[in-house]
Amino acid sequence: MANLSQQEDFELADTLLDHLLGFLHHMRSNGFHLGIQEELDVMKMAESGILLQQKRLRWGLRALLCSCADDWRRFDELFDAFWITPNGTREQASSYSKQMESEKGLDGGQQGGGGDEAIEADHAEEGDDNDAGEGGSKGGASVQQVTAKTDFRQLSDDSKMREMELLVERMAKKMRRRMTRRQRVQRQGNRINLRQTIRNSLRYGGTPLELAFMKRKKQAPRLILLLDVSRSMSLYSFLFLRFARGIIEAFKDSDAFVYHTRLVHVTDALRERDMTKAKEKLALMSSGWSGGTRIGECLQMFNHEYGRRIVNSRSIVMIISDGYDTGEPKQLTEQLQQLKQRARKIVWLNPLLGRDGYEPIAKGMQAALPLLDLFSSAHNLESLMKLEPELMKL
């Protein structure tokens, strides 16, 4: 770049533009969502002369092409990979972007081999065509479709699991948005809606005969999650922890607990922004546990220690468990009854319920069933999403 910036040759700038398009292509193949608008803006930026100064080129492109903190952190590396080779000269450095090669097949290889401008220009055009087809952020949506019906237990590899965890957390956050709609115009209510009232009164020569009211928006329920983390649930634990994290972040004064032989309050640990730190904290808390699940005993502990304080008529208690209980069913029934008196509703989510041929015949499950307001499956993203309208009704 350094020697290039000294000569302000017009043709040279033209070549640079080609490289710039190549760079956009490079960023696209690395997962940046870039459309025609970005391309036009890069051109506009180039015209203002920023192009010939490496630092400003970097900063300008960064502001233009990044759209979240994640992009921001990756940008410098990608920029260097494309524009700077180890000996400091600028080159089409496609060999650095392995991702690009794997995604676009031979494309990357060709680009690296041919220093020919014509070929590069071709590539740039190809890039345009691709984009028209792919269309920016569509990628995210289709990913969701693929995985919404995937059973959680079929997520074998780590990256898929991470992806699902992220989706689950995001979905939990979204739930709140839709559960508390804004105020609505009604014929009855507790606040006058002046806008509509004036509209109505035009008919009567300005006398407000027909009043319009605002109805208070529905108050968000207070969610309390009791999460089974015993061995039989180990497949799902982290996923539901992410779910709990999303809920906690989105719903004011919601709480989360994990249990198998003991009950632990984990709301604070889940509030930790950094997921690895949160996991560490959780691991510390639950170390040294063993033996089977004793749901009844844990519920008793919950009722005794927290029940009075945090469960009220706005609370929906959500128990997430497969219902395999080594304790006494009688105790479970008693405790659920006690809880039911205090809470608005009790919901039981069972990740096994989605499996073919599963019947809730486990002793614990049998004991609990008659006391539940909602018994629902939670084996894939779709089933969790369906939960939201159900919760609204409760």
């Binding site: 969502h33 459309g35 608008q37 970005e38 803006d41 506009k44 930026m45 203002s48 920023i50 100064q53 630092k55 400003r56 970097r58 900063w59 300008g60 960064r62 502001a63 233009l64 990044c66 759209s67 979240c68 903190a69 992009d71 921001w72 920016g136 952020s137 995210g140 995001r170 956050k173 948005r177 804004r182 105020q183 002046l194 806008r195 009232t197 004036i198 009164s201 035009l202 020569g205 300005g206 407000p208 928006k217 972040e249």
Partner: protein, 292 residues
């Protein structure tokens, strides 16, 4: 580069210490007329950037604070109901037709402009600050997207109002909620991080010239090591400034002079009970010793 240096100097004149990359982004924004999305933790000076821009351009700053449930009525426009009611009463005896009466009632005379409408109907481009966009609902975000792409607003009773001048739009977000991809794509993006030691020192001395170099250095060192601790709420630059102001008021010339008193001023930096419990006298003394 000259243009950039000049711009950076202008930012500095307005008491904002900006890194070169941020200055370059701001300069680019004024050229492309695209909104700029600033992300970063609370208290790193996101809002301040908008204020500084307004100062530099010598234009008004219009601020729209987002909150949950923010709706079009409070963000764009509202009719002046009292005024309208009066007008209807006065027109009662007039012989105008119903249609013309209605047209009068819903004319610009009775329109209350809220920030967004204000911003696009100004003679001179203002700086429009849309603060904490992540707190607003998704529906509002979608509406905002429409305004930011066309710079026009439709009022059913009046028709479409087109922007006279395009405002410089700054959006800030604390990332409490994922923003939509569409909005992100519409904007330039800059991530504002906690400042480095040197930068924070410069910020303090720029904002508070009366503070001694020694105290400023100590304060910044103290806060910087505080940020590395496992706090619930990490103190931002504004907290550092508050704390420095408090120390100045107490006539402290250096931190090690009165560690006891320092403990009593920590409420400027630590905003939760857990954090207060974490920073005990011992910890604080250690931090002071380390800050020299």
């Amino acid at each position: 580069m000259k243009e950039l240096t000049v711009f950076q100097a202008r930012l500095a004149e307005a008491d904002y210490v900006a890194d070169k990359d941020l200055a370059a982004t701001l300069l680019l924004q004024t050229k492309l007329h695209r909104p700029l999305l600033l992300e970063g933790d609370a208290g790193v000076g996101k809002t301040e950037i908008a204020k500084t821009l307004a100062k530099i351009f010598g234009c008004p700053l219009i601020r729209l604070q987002c909150y949950e449930g923010l709706d079009v009525n409070s963000a764009v426009y509202e009719w002046n109901y009292q005024h309208q009611l009066l007008a209807i009463k006065m027109q009662e005896s007039a012989s105008d037709s119903q249609a013309s009466k209605e047209q009068d009632i819903f004319s610009e005379k009775y329109l209350l402009k809220r920030p967004l409408l204000q911003a696009i109907t100004m003679d001179k481009s203002p700086v429009l600050l849309i603060d904490e966009i992540d707190r607003a609902d998704e529906e509002f975000e979608a509406f905002l997207l429409e305004v930011l792409s066309d710079f026009q607003i439709t009022i059913p009773e009046l028709g479409t109002i087109k922007a006279i001048t395009k405002p410089h739009v700054i959006l800030t977000s604390n990332a409490t909620r994922e923003l939509s991809d569409a909005l992100r794509r519409r904007c330039l993006y800059h991530y504002v991080d906690y400042p480095s030691f040197d930068k924070e020192l410069r910020i303090i001395t720029t904002r508070m010239p009366e503070v001694s170099q020694r105290l400023a250095g100590q304060v910044v060192e103290y806060v910087q090591s505080l940020r590395k601790m496992d706090l619930r709420k990490i103190p931002g630059v504004s907290e550092t400034l508050d704390w420095t102001a408090a120390l100045l008021k107490l006539n402290l010339s250096s931190l090690d002079k009165d560690p006891e008193l320092i403990m009593n001023t920590l409420m400027c930096l630590l905003k939760t009970k857990e954090d207060h419990d974490l920073i005990t006298r011992d910890v604080s003394d250690r931090l002071i010793a380390r800050s020299g």
